[in-house]
């Protein structure tokens, strides 16, 4: 479960701010449900708290616990000629993209990521499966540095 259970290779953890970003994103996602529960609550059809209590409990769990575990489950490993991206809580996935197969590279920043100085590095390959491999939760400067390093490996004529 923890980040170092694969072949003894230590995975580089993501930026700690990633937890905050995921929490905020989950909050934005859970808020409509809480509001919906409040509305149902005000209709007084069932005993008090029958809607609100479970919804708020689930939301609290999703906001406090899950982002942390998600952060612990994620990691990457930048090798000399390949990038390995590990992710997933229930459904684990461990993807390796050789630099020689990268078609182009994106560094993306959403509004939340920008507020916390994070960025998502996206590697695009020609494959149908894993056409784009995203690595979120990197510090923006790290992401840019990684992009430059990978780009140096991608031969000029393939661009």
């Amino acid at each position: 479960m923890d980040a170092s259970d694969h072949e003894g290779d230590a995975l580089t953890p993501l930026h700690p701010n990633y937890v905050k970003v995921v929490r905020l994103a989950t909050l934005g996602w859970a808020l409509p449900f809480v509001i919906g529960a409040l509305v149902l609550e005000s209709a007084d059809t069932l005993p008090r708290g029958a809607f609100l209590a479970p919804v708020v409990l689930v939301a609290l769990y999703l906001i406090s616990r899950v982002p942390l575990r998600r952060y612990q489950a994620r990691g990457y490993q930048l090798g000399g000629d390949r990038l390995r991206v590990v992710r997933g809580l229930l459904f684990r996935s461990d993807t390796v993209v050789p630099f020689g197969r990268v078609q182009h590279i994106d560094v993306q920043q959403g509004p939340l990521e920008r507020a916390y100085g994070l960025a998502t590095l996206v590697l695009h390959t020609a494959g149908t499966h894993n056409a784009s491999v995203a690595l979120p939760g990197l510090g923006h400067d790290d992401a840019v540095a990684m992009r430059e390093e990978i780009r140096a490996h991608v031969k000029r004529e393939t661009l």
Binding site: E7, D81, R82, L90, F91, R92, S93, D94, T95, V96, V97, P98, F99, G100, R101, V102, Q103, T125, A126, G127, T128, H129, N130, A131, V133, K155, E157, T158
Partner: protein, 512 residues
């Protein structure tokens, strides 16, 4: 690069003026429905006929005008490094495609353009089938010249003046061709009930044109059972004969549909090896002519069918970034014995796994879990039915018993299928290739080249993690390849081996 030559002039060109005529004629087909609507709609009016003729003329006129404008504003240029296309009057779009990025060039002749000796040229770039670059329509000679030029430019060859335009017939070797007899055999295996869907759909659309209501079941029953109870009088034997006749009609119609579709699509099928790559020509009314450069082939797969496999018939598909008319891969041998397919596979630079002695199989745990996941819900259903049985009314008792037996039967089938699959599913890897064979009654064999893979992923669901197996996904340009349910250790070894092959060769230097 060489200097521009006659075939590679820097001038903008339009498609052949005749293509305007061809487009106008094909455009008439689009007018058929509005025209019909006009004719039917005006029937109720006084003096409607006076109005219909000018309106029809105006429709044809406008259609022609727009076609002419579209033709006038479409132009293309075969340049030094790329091919450029510009079109549109109000919103103008310009596109440039570098020669190195063109995956393959295909010519298509639909029936009407074919009458005029015209063809549509398509340049596949692998950027998704919809947005491909097409030039329609040019004369066949111009189409050939275009293809030659693009091929020559792509490989960076020096094009001597006038040579490209000549479209010299190059030495080619026929790898596979289908004679009418083979085609008919193929068609018989392509049993299809699609005709019913089409007829049904058409009936639903146009039932207002029929003199009676076909959806009126009571009228039908009356017609059949009728005043003299015609059918019922005839007794069960005749009814049985009727049912058999109905089934036979269905079978014949399905066979004929399959046959017609196959003949239309694959008439004169010919696969050749040319210096440019694999060249495929086929089609009765719509002729297509596709060239697939061999170095663009990413992977191959061999498919078969439930029934045709009994007679040894298989099909060979080529996976590349380019897409075929309807599917993501090109079929290069649609219907042949394995010996014929083997020779084509060798030409494409691959091998059949004949020399492989050591096949790996999915983890037995994976098989067991899959059987359980398939059978368990059904088994639960049987138990639920058995428990609830006393609650059912007497007349439903037999039905519930039948349901329970059927569910139990399906559950056993699911489990047996998994057991059998454990014997059939397998994969192997050698220094150059990966072979994956999957399926029981209609198995499929995937052959991929190790260095041409794009990425490797080990994926595990919650059950897989607990039970120690994983699915290995490979990124293939234009296709998919996965090995399911192999032990985690095997998956890691395979990944490391494949990554070693991939990382050694850059994408731009992949071997031809």
């Amino acid at each position: 690069m060489t200097k521009p030559v006659t075939a590679v002039s820097e001038d903008w060109r339009r498609t052949s003026p005749l293509s305007f005529v061809v487009r106008a004629i094909t455009g008439l087909r689009n007018l058929a429905f509005p025209a019909l609507a006009l004719v039917f709609g005006s029937q109720g009016w006084q003096g409607g006929g006076l109005f219909v003729a000018p309106a029809l003329l105006a429709m044809v006129g406008f259609s022609g005008l727009f076609t002419w404008i579209a033709w006038r504003h479409f132009r293309y240029r075969v340049g030094e490094h790329d091919i450029r296309i510009e079109h549109g009057l109000i919103s103008r779009s310009a596109r440039a495609v570098p020669y190195e990025r063109i995956q393959d060039v295909s010519l298509e002749q639909k029936p009407v353009p074919r009458l005029f000796g015209m063809a549509e040229v398509r340049f596949e770039t692998g950027a998704g089938g919809k947005d491909e670059v097409r030039i329609a329509y040019v004369t066949l000679a111009e189409a050939d010249a275009l293809r030659e030029t693009v091929r020559a430019r792509k490989t960076g060859e020096a094009v001597a003046a006038g040579e490209a335009a000549a479209a010299v017939e190059e030495p080619s070797r026929t790898l596979f061709a289908m004679d009418p007899r083979r085609l008919v055999t193929f068609g018989l295996f392509e049993f299809s009930l699609v005709a019913f869907a089409v007829i049904g759909g058409a009936l639903q659309q146009f039932d207002f044109l029929l003199p009676f209501d076909i959806w009126d079941f009571e009228a039908w029953i009356e017609l059949l059972a009728g005043p003299g109870h015609r059918l019922q009088e005839l007794g069960p034997a005749v009814q049985a004969v009727g049912a058999v006749l109905a089934l036979a009609t269905l079978a014949v119609l399905g066979l004929v549909t399959g046959l017609v579709r196959t003949v239309l699509r694959d008439w004169g099928f010919r696969l050749e090896e040319t210096p440019k790559g694999l060249r495929r020509r086929r089609g009765l009314l719509t002729r297509t002519d596709t060239v697939m450069p061999i170095h663009r082939v990413q992977a191959l797969y061999v498919t078969t069918g439930l029934l045709r496999r009994r007679f040894g018939w298989h099909a060979l598909w080529v996976v590349s970034l380019a897409t075929d008319a309807k599917s993501a891969s090109h079929v290069v041998v649609p219907f042949a014995q394995m010996s014929e397919i083997a020779s084509v596979i060798r030409v494409a630079g691959f091998d059949l796994p004949d020399g492989i002695t050591h096949w790996h199989r999915p983890s037995p745990r994976y098989r067991f879990d899959r059987a359980m996941l398939g059978a368990l819900p059904l088994a639960l259903g049987v138990v639920a039915l058995a428990l609830a049985r006393p609650l059912f009314p007497a007349e439903a008792q037999a039905g519930s018993l039948l349901g329970a037996v059927a569910m139990a039967g399906i559950a056993v089938l699911v489990a047996v299928r998994e057991r059998l699959l454990s014997r059939y599913d397998r994969h192997a890897i050698d220094v150059e290739r990966i072979y994956v064979r999957r399926g029981w009654l209609a198995p499929r064999l995937d052959i991929a080249s190790r260095v041409k893979l794009q990425s490797v992923e080990i994926a595990q669901g919650p059950i897989a993690r607990r039970r120690g197996y994983a699915t290995l996904h490979f990124g293939v340009a234009g296709g998919t390849l996965a090995i399911e349910g192999i032990p985690l250790e095997d998956a890691r070894l395979l990944r490391d081996g494949v990554l070693h092959s991939i990382a050694g060769v850059d994408f731009s230097r992949l071997p031809g």
